[in-house]
């Protein structure tokens, strides 16, 4: 009995450290570490003198630093940068749970943004509806609705015509972008700046006193909305019947069908929700003072970055949130080190770090394999000696049995 107890303990030790969750988190952390290291090396080659101090700023941009000429807003700025990325990452994560790769977030983000701007510019009557300012809430809702509709197209195509959502998503990204430009030029074009018109102040997202907590001209309730979206999607995925079905379809479409789940409906639904979240991200980015939609034929980068953030966050809502904040830290750090006092680095260095992290995380299988070996080695070292002896003495019995058998 004693032996089996010990075996159970040993098993648990290895089981935990080689368990899926632990390995996933470890490999994410490992990729982040390697990405940072490579970023540092690149910085060192660019400017050895300032590399260390600038690098410290990049990874610690939430700490107040005193630099003449640069006013550091820190947390407010980090949140401002993290918010859209958290939401696009969340959109990707959610679709991932249904086994879908919603690369169409880029387009959903854009159409959401433009429809929010349209509401912000044109529907001025919403500023005072029975004494309430409904302008920005309606703008957000419309953005979610339009983003959801844009997600519904690849959703229905996938569900009922089995069209690969990646292919239709990529196509719709371009359709969404050019359609948005066309729409802006025809309805709310500011020819002087070649941009969309500026939204009414009533459509700007309020701050609800957040600026006192995190002083920054860019702070808004966007970060709260992102947090809310994270919490809601987490609850949907892990606590509701709908989430049970969506995940079941994602893990095993056939078994879901067998269990009577309407798998087509769930596939469409997952992409619609994902699109709505992406649309919300687009609205939050543009419903701030001083930001306006530029007429350029470039796909919005937030969508693609969201893919990376979702993957690093293990495609879970909470993981995506944490990694999104980390991304905000790096982004703001990259902004800070442009100053001459820190060596005048280009902020693109942050993109080098992020892309390295993604690249390494794609090798997570390799990381996991080596981690398992290392953990096994450690667990062998820590094993008490008594057990080793048992392992040696155990096989002796069967040999006798075997010889008997052989003689028969």
């Amino acid at each position: 009995m004693g032996k089996s107890n010990k075996e159970a303990k040993k098993f648990n030790f290895e089981a935990f450290f080689t368990g899926k969750m632990f390995m996933d988190v470890i490999s994410s952390i490992f990729s982040i570490f390697l990405g940072l290291l490579l970023g540092y090396i690149v910085m060192y080659f660019l400017n050895p003198e300032y590399a260390t101090s600038a690098f410290k700023v990049v990874i610690g941009s939430w700490k107040p630093i005193e630099l003449s000429g640069t006013q550091a807003f820190n947390m407010g700025e980090i949140m401002f940068r993290a918010t859209p990325i958290i939401l696009t990452g969340l959109a990707i994560s959610f679709a991932f749970k249904a086994g879908l790769f919603n690369i169409g977030v880029v387009g959903q983000f854009t159409v959401g943004a433009v429809s929010a701007i349209y509401v912000g510019v044109k529907w001025t009557f919403l500023a005072d509806v029975a004494g309430m300012n409904l302008h920005w809430p309606i703008a957000l809702l419309v953005a979610m609705l339009v983003g959801g509709l844009w997600g519904a197209i690849p959703g229905f195509l996938k569900a009922y015509r089995n069209v690969n959502e990646v292919v239709s998503g990529i196509m719709l990204n371009y359709v969404g972008m050019y359609l948005s430009i066309y729409f802006v030029m025809n309805n709310m074009f500011n020819a002087t700046y070649a941009r969309a018109m500026t939204i009414e102040p009533s459509a700007e997202l309020p701050t609800w006193g957040l600026e006192k907590l995190f002083p920054s001209p860019n702070i808004s309730i966007g970060i709260l909305l992102a947090l809310l979206a994270v919490i809601i999607t987490h609850i949907i995925l892990y606590n509701t019947k709908a989430g049970f079905e969506i995940k079941a379809v994602g893990y095993n479409r056939h078994a879901s069908k067998y269990a009577g789940v309407n798998e087509n409906r769930n596939i469409a639904l997952a992409l619609i929700i994902s699109g709505a979240i992406a649309g919300l991200a687009g609205a939050i980015v543009y419903l701030v003072p001083g930001k306006s939609f530029a007429i350029v034929d470039v796909l919005e980068g937030q969508g693609f970055t969201g893919i990376a953030i979702a993957l690093l966050g293990l495609t879970t809502p909470i993981g995506t949130f944490l990694v999104g904040i980390f991304y905000g830290v790096l982004q703001y750090g990259g902004y800070l080190i442009q100053g001459n006092l820190l060596g005048g680095f280009k902020p693109e260095i942050v993109d080098v770090i992020i892309s390295t992290i993604i690249y390494i995380s794609a090798l997570s299988l390799l990381v996991k394999m080596y981690m398992k070996k290392i953990i096994k080695f450690i667990s062998n070292l820590t094993k008490p000696k008594v057990e080793d002896e048992q392992l040696v003495s155990e096989p002796e019995k069967p040999i006798v049995e075997a010889k008997k058998g052989g003689d028969e």
């Binding site: 019947k241 893990y251 095993n252 009577g260």
Partner: protein
């Protein structure tokens, strides 16, 4: 004693498990040596070691008395070891000759020379009495002939030691008989054979000696003539096994399932997979659809459960369910133990407790206002786990993926049986299970019958069909070709119907 192969004290370890623990296997020249063990006993690992796919931690391999090191399958070929795999490794749109010469092509001036190869193949097939048609394509010939092609492939490469991995799994009783004749022929001509199997009856019929493995350990080697199947089963499982299924005479009452003129078309080829099939299943009986794999049984079940569209009528307790969704059929009283437990039966990445509510998570028992009742789900899991003795590493929260096949099947059965439906459709419920688990499944099905449920069993194993059923129909190429009473028919007769060489109007 002259041994052609000796594997002495082989130990092969994988992280966390000893797949082979001090295993010894000695093959005498010209014998048929059975290697017996349940799933996961280490049979395949041992053969992979012999083939050079794995390197053992301990132990030595001797070929013809000389110690050798086998580093990869090429070495194994060099020592004239050949294997007939359970799933044939043949190119379907190549001819028999092309398949056999693939890898060791004979050439003339750099061009393929079929005539030399064909001559050698015909010579070999005559010598060992392996009937083949050298010029036909693999996709056009029967499974039995495909297997003979696999055997010829080894002989063409001058293999002396032949390993057969579960060779009878895909064959009809007639084909099995022929295979056994072939195996005896081969040994007569000087070849030595290792036969991997878990079917005791076949060992008794054809093998000379039998080595038994259990949970990676070597249990012993016995002469087949001096022992009984019961004794071998006990060695394999570690306790006495009851092969006889205890069951009373069936007392069928009302009709539960009635199937009328079901026809299923293949979506791509438009061939009729099920052609005008009608039957009915009553309460208190086990009704069995027998047949060789791929004769329309899968599609028939899909039509009844709603997984596939079909023509015809399906009545459940007299109500027409032909046009209902899968969910509605399930709710009306259809339980389905699916053929492929990984594809249909389980969401492998879900925990055991989630899998146990896969058919009921939407009922008020497990959800309220759309929110899951995790406590009720856990209680349900704990109850079923103890009731059905489902074993897993961490209980209710274990990933279904990490459970053994037998326990996965137990989980599915627990889920389907606990729903207390009138009709239970069990498709190959014992596929890939070990003896202990098979016993459990059989007992469970008989119990359900005795409780007055209608059991529709689809099985490829003739033993199971004969022992378990109260009524048998045979399907061949999508059609019903005969109905039988298991007491009055024989395996041979069923075999003839299954192979399509006999039919009676039903």
């Amino acid at each position: 004693m002259e041994y052609v192969v000796e594997m002495l004290n082989i130990t092969k370890e994988f992280p966390g498990i000893k797949a082979n623990d001090n295993v010894t296997l000695q093959l005498i020249k010209q014998e048929i040596h059975a290697l017996l063990g349940e799933n996961g006993a280490g049979k395949s690992t041992l053969m992979s070691v012999l083939f050079g796919l794995y390197q053992p931690e301990e132990g030595i391999i001797k070929i013809n008395g000389k110690e050798v090191k086998i580093n990869d399958p090429n070495d194994a070929n060099k020592y004239k070891i050949g294997m007939v795999h359970q799933h044939f490794k043949l190119v379907h749109n190549y001819s028999v000759v092309e398949n056999i010469m693939l890898g060791v092509e004979s050439t003339k001036k750099g061009l393929l020379d079929y005539s030399v190869a064909k001559e050698k193949i015909i010579e070999l097939s005559e010598k060992y009495n392996l009937r083949i048609d050298p010029d036909s394509l693999i996709e056009d010939i029967s499974v039995g002939m495909q297997q003979r092609v696999e055997i010829l492939k080894m002989l063409y490469r001058d293999a002396e030691i032949l390993i057969f991995d579960e060779p009878t799994a895909v064959l009809t009783p007639q084909e099995i008989k022929e295979l056994m004749k072939i195996m005896r022929n081969l040994t007569k001509e000087g070849k030595s054979i290792i036969l991997i199997t878990h079917k005791l009856k076949e060992i008794k019929q054809v093998a000379d000696r039998c080595s038994v493995l259990r949970k990676g350990k070597y249990i012993g080697t016995v002469g087949v003539k001096e022992t009984t199947t019961e004794k071998m089963a006990e060695m394999m499982v570690g306790r006495p096994v009851n092969f006889e299924i205890d069951k009373k005479k069936a007392v069928p009452t009302d009709v539960v399932l009635e199937v009328k003129d079901i026809t299923v078309e293949d979506t791509l080829s438009k061939k009729l997979k099920v052609n005008n099939v009608s039957f009915s299943v009553k309460k208190g009986e086990i009704f069995c659809v027998a047949g060789i794999e791929g004769n329309g049984q899968t599609q028939l079940v899909e039509a009844i459960t709603g997984l596939k569209k079909s023509k015809g009528t399906v009545l459940l307790n007299g109500e027409d369910i032909t046009h209902l969704s899968i969910r509605n059929r399930n709710n009306m009283g259809v339980s389905h133990i699916p053929e492929d437990r990984h594809k249909h039966g389980l969401v492998l990445d879900y925990s055991l407790e989630y899998n146990l509510v896969l058919q009921e998570y939407f009922t008020p028992k497990f959800q309220k206002y759309g929110f899951l009742k995790h406590k009720a789900i856990r209680e349900n899991a704990d109850k079923l786990i103890s009731e059905f003795d489902i074993r897993s590493g961490q209980g209710a929260i274990t990933d279904a993926r990490s459970m053994s096949g037998g326990n996965q099947q137990k989980a599915i059965i627990a889920r389907e049986v606990s729903r207390n439906t009138d009709l239970i459709i069990a498709v190959q419920p014992t596929r890939g299970l070990d003896v202990g688990a098979i016993e459990f499944v059989h007992k469970e099905l008989v119990d359900l019958r005795d409780q007055g449920k209608a059991v529709l069993l689809i099985s490829l194993e003739l033993d199971e069909v004969m022992n378990l059923s109260d009524r048998i129909i045979v399907m061949y190429e999508g059609e019903l070709v005969g109905e039988f009473d298991p007491v009055k028919t024989t395996e041979t007769e069923l075999g003839l119907y299954m192979a399509g060489s006999k039919r009676s109007e039903v």
